[in-house]
Symmetry: C2
DNA sequence: GTTCTATCTGAACGTTTGTTCAGATACGAT
DNA sequence: ATCGTATCTGAACAAACGTTCAGATAGAAC
């Protein structure tokens, strides 16, 4: 046997990405074999290598694409007027964007240590760029006296850590609507930083 | 060759635990082999099985002991008087306890999915017990009108998530002292929940 | 000094790992 | 209908995996 009926790179390529995404998120990069990914796609392991040079690249591209999507989506947001409004938009954006991509978020956070040093550095740059946009908001608010923050660098990390906590418990269709979740977290963030 | 000079279970046992702890934290459970652990201890892989029935138990015991230590240490704290003071104590305790055990914390958080279902359930029970103690504090403060929290369950998770963020960036000897870190986080937590 | 046992080695086991590749077939263009 | 190429199979590779165990040596007890 060889090429199979209906086979096409436009179909197989994305399916490999999706299979790897789900399996990496559920079981972890190191615990997932190329044969498991292939099986989920319905293909032999060797076929994967038409789409990725190796397993590491499969992971790296998932993470890089996710971080680039995140940055692009955030840049597409128009600024609110004052820092308080901009921060509110950031909170809403962060929660909603991440809740739509639970697998990508999980991988981007958990699998950093499985990246080669070069790949790790590239992902870290993207992450820092995103964090810097929040830190900029906090700095602006601090400058005009709206916020009262003893250390904006730490406050940046604290806010992101708090917001990322949503991912560990929120489930669509649960007790709270997305709007309610956003409101609750915005209340806490606002109070934590407001003068 | 066989038994080696100076070999003793009181020495080898802890060294295996420490080696596993460090390697699991750095590279992840699935990515670490029994032979790597043995090499760090200076022993052959087979010798590990005098100390653990299998690799899974090695991970599980690290996590269970850590969670039990956490609960025991927290219970040893005497209550503050009012909820606000109790919450302040909790924040300080949480930050200091976890910063002293970065490897254990990392593993307890990252390797949950590598536990067998039975082991997972046991660890989750311990984690929930700890979270419940914080939720109790928030509930008390809410009842007496000191706190203003729309959802104590979510606030509990949000506070813990925020505090856990410290572990990702704090380094001893860095820009901020432990006291300063504790003060900064306490400020944010207090403002996030206070009426 | 002898005996008993705790401790470790070194080899072996069957599986699984990531990756390569020659060959085979289906698709797309002509 | 024919041809070129995109796509996949199936087998193979060496290496690494978790685990077991018979045999050997060191330490402890007497």
């Amino acid at each position: 046997m060889a090429r199979t009926q209906g086979s096409h790179s436009d179909i197989t390529g994305p399916r490999i990405r999706e299979a790897a995404l789900g399996l990496f998120a559920r079981h972890g990069y190191a615990a997932v074999s190329m044969r498991q990914i292939a099986k989920e796609v319905g293909v032999q392991a060797g076929a994967l290598y038409n789409y990725t040079p190796d397993k590491q690249s499969l992971l790296f591209r998932l993470m890089r694409d996710h971080m680039q999507d995140l940055l692009a989506a955030y840049k597409a947001l128009e600024d609110g007027g004052d820092p308080q409004d901009t921060l509110r938009r950031f909170v809403g954006f962060h929660i909603r964007f991440h809740l739509q991509r639970p697998d990508e978020v999980f991988i981007a956070y958990m699998e950093l240590r499985n990246l080669t040093p070069d790949n790790f550095a590239e992902i870290e740059d993207l992450r820092r760029a995103y964090e810097n946009s929040l830190e900029g908001i906090l700095n602006n608010g601090q400058k005009v006296g709206l916020f009262s923050i003893s250390d904006t660098k730490i406050a940046t990390l604290a806010v992101i850590a708090m917001l990322n906590g949503v991912m560990t418990w929120y489930r669509a269709g649960g007790r709270l609507s997305l709007d309610e979740v956003e409101q609750i977290y915005w209340d806490m963030v606002r109070r934590a930083v407001t003068a």
